[in-house]
Amino acid sequence: MTDEPVVGIDLGTTNSVVAFVNPAGAAEAIADEDGQRTIPSVVHFPEGGDPVVGSLAKQQAVVDPHRVAAAFKRGMGRRTFLDDDREFVVDGTTYPPEALSAMVLKKLKQAAEAHFRGEVRKAIITVPAYFGDAERKATVTAGEMAGLDVLRVINEPTAAALAHGLGGDAEAGTILVFDLGGGTFDVTVMAVGADGSLEVKSTGGDHRFGGLDFDRLIVDRMAAVVQAETGADLRADPYAHQDALAKAEEMKKELSRKETSTRPLTAGGRSVMFTLTRAEFDGLLAESGHLQEAEDHIINTIEDAGMEPGGITSVLMVGGSSRIIAFKDLVERVIGREPQFSKNLDEDVARGAAFMAAKLEETVDPDGPGAALAQLPTPVDVASRGLGVQALDSQGGGQLVNVVLIDANTPVPAHAEQTFGASRADQTDLELVLTEGEETDLDFVTELGRTKGTFSKPVPLGHPVTVRLEYSVDQRITAKAIDGHSGDLLCELEVKSETAISDDEKAALLSTLANTTIG
């Protein structure tokens, strides 16, 4: 057992939470200096001052929109998160999503250190189950830039299920976790053992689909009403637009509790009272195709688990946007069961991550009140996407195709190997291209890396080459190509921590963050 504090962090698109497991074995979220346990994932860069994260930053989005960054989780693994693919630049400095996430993580770290009155380094950070390799590595990089030692990155549905199960509500069976947050949507089918063990059977979703999109639907309706009544374009004024987005979010949340919501809007110097009913909001969701898309992902994920909807024994709703009545009704209709909502909908993911961190670091006394946690089996991690290599389809006209060696949802650590043949006579070299994705069509897979190798002498057509893939528990992926006759290692590839930022950028940001207190 160790006394060094460890925390679990839910790095959300709209809100983030940091939690820990107390000596009683219960996980609780940590409040910041303002007493808030759910901290908006928003960063404001005031002129001449240090960055500010949280509610204050979110308020500045209305008055200083060009210096405020939000929803940057959607761009993790890339250089930008803005809709028009511009980079986010303030005072000549570019802030990629990793850097902004690092600032949020640092804010959470500060809150945890204030709570523990000492340094906090070790953390588990959650990610959407559908995040691929690039997004996961970017999350780890963000944690490192914030001064954290990221023990592991775990899937949000797994963390939520862990928190839910330890709350005593779980039964053995197959659960479907419906995690609809501010920016991401995950559906996960998990097998729950009688001993509380969790095994992911399948996962699906869209990591660019969430509450923010529903807010924009409401803003579009607002803009139409304002245009009709005043002739003004609500979206032409950035301040009016930001104000409308903030109010849209409030109305969306209110419509989960009430049938009608009303807010005043100002545009072109005139004020308009905007009213939206729950039925109208449901109509917007249906017309936009969001409800159909959610239903498709649910059915796809259940089918991927080799099941029918009737085989699901319980449904757990996670994430703030899962409160939307239309989605609750949808899930109930498709699965045929009333879904369950956790008591701490916004904090469950962080709490589950805290449980996982405590278990890994053995910070809980196995003989104390947290004995149940200590005895709980560690949830099985899985490969979120299929892993494979590019190869020539000799029977398909010699086209390049993707060959999956490790299927999606395979428990990790995992390894696989397959033998291929040299594609031409007198072949002297080969190129090993590692891919992520489940399709054979290369248009729908992502290249993770490539390397070249050379045969010791020209080989004939069909000469065997064995490709071995390994996916470790800490999500390192390595691939090797081996001469099938001689056993020589032809080439080896380890997927590096390739993020969208360069090492120089990372070092510069690390230095900046180390000397900055996030407000």
Binding site: R78, D85, Y130, I299, E439
Partner: protein, 394 residues
């Protein structure tokens, strides 16, 4: 048979093709809604693959929606089935500088020149002190220019600057020399190209084949035939199996050779002969290039033929004597009004003399001047079957 679930667009807007798009037959028509949902879910899944896959999947999703409405609600099916969606620019993830060139090369080989250009450009911003992204950028422009994907000369100039900077840092890299030479040739900067080739010959133990080719094409294009032919010979010698290069060289040399016609002097004859011989050697084994060179080979075989073979003194004496013989003709005709002579035309009393005199006056110089037969043919408008191949502008 292709899987209907992965079929991206229906064959047509006809009902039978729309049904086939949803797997009917072999499924019964009662399964239409189920199959629509199956297909839609298949493509919803692909929207989360990668940016390019997402664009394709969204486009197919729209097509599925339109096709299903056409079948279920009788809505018209737009033609074409869906408006093509511009695939988004694949925002290249920045890679470590030591891997940048491999990645850019991979993108080039995969045909993604936009992605390669973007990665190379971002590389120059991220690694301003490294020669690698500069060379990578120059390489992308070289390929794009050669393939006709770029036509703005500013790109070429920027690429040349990048390549020259990369060359200054890595004069030991043959590939950098080759790309620099190629870009200079494309920009028509043959003097600088000359210098670069000479520097490369001093710096490297052997010139990359591409450099010889760039130099040969450049020299031939600006009319430096002798040096151009020598460079062409070196280019083919360095890469004898490069059929494309041989074909290009042969075509360029043939163009240069055609501009030498008609043969007007011994020097021109020699140049033409040599050019055709080199073109024929370059084209050897490349059927389409051989066909282009063949007319010139035939022509060149006769190019040395003169109008009047024989002793020059005798030729001159005969011409002079003929002139004397025709003197009376001149005198007689000089006493008659010109209009009458011309009016009477051939067959008239003085007509034959006029036309005889005119013919002599027009043809005699070819004898006096020791002219090549080609000039006579050209002047006489003679047409041979391969004429158009030799004189394409005529």
């Amino acid at each position: 048979m292709a899987d209907w679930k992965t079929q991206k667009e229906p064959a047509s807007a006809a009902r039978a093709d729309l049904l086939a798009y949803f797997g009917i037959p072999p499924s019964p028509e009662s399964d239409l809604e189920k199959n629509i949902a199956t297909k839609r879910r298949k493509w919803v899944r692909l929207e989360t693959s990668n940016p390019k896959g997402e664009a394709i999947a969204k486009r197919v999703g729209a097509t599925i929606q339109q096709a299903s409405e056409a079948l279920l609600k009788g809505a018209p099916m737009p033609t074409p089935t869906a408006a093509p969606v511009e695939e988004p620019v694949v925002r290249a993830t920045l890679v470590p500088v030591e891997d940048l060139l491999d990645h850019v090369t991979g993108l080039i080989m995969g045909g993604d020149l936009r992605g390669a250009m973007e990665m190379a450009t971002k590389g120059q911003e991220a690694y301003p002190d490294s020669w690698i992204p500069r060379f990578a950028y120059a390489r992308v422009v070289e390929v794009a220019w050669g393939g006709g994907e770029l036509d703005d000369p500013r790109h070429l100039e920027a690429a040349i600057r990048s390549a020259e900077r990369a060359l200054a840092e890595r004069p030991d890299e043959p590939a950098v020399w080759a790309t620099t030479a190629s870009l200079l040739g494309a920009a028509g900067r043959y003097d600088r190209l000359d210098e670069v080739v000479q520097q490369a010959e001093r710096q490297l133990s052997g010139l990359p084949a591409g450099m010889h080719l760039s130099l040969a094409m450049g020299l031939l294009s600006r009319g430096d035939v002798e040096r151009g032919l020598a460079a062409a010979v070196r280019a083919v010698g360095a890469a004898p199996h490069d059929r494309a290069a041989r074909g290009d060289l042969a075509a360029t040399i043939v163009e240069v050779a055609a501009r030498m016609l008609p043969i007007s002097s011994s020097d021109v004859m020699k140049s033409y002969d040599e050019a055709v011989a080199v073109a024929a050697w370059c084209a050897s084994g490349v059927p389409e290039a051989e066909a282009a060179v063949l007319p010139h080979r035939v022509w060149a075989a006769r190019a040395g033929t003169r109008v009047f073979a024989g002793n020059h003194v005798l030729r001159t004496a005969l011409a002079t004597y003929s002139a004397f013989l025709l003197l009376p003709l001149h005198t007689r005709l000089g006493s008659r009004p010109a209009w009458k002579v011309l009016w009477e035309g051939p067959g008239g009393k003085g007509r034959d003399e006029v036309w005889t005199l005119w013919s002599f006056n027009s043809q005699a110089p070819y004898a006096w001047q020791d002219t090549f037969v080609q000039r006579l043919h050209h002047a006489g408008g003679a047409r041979f079957p391969w004429w158009h191949a030799v004189y394409p502008a005529v």
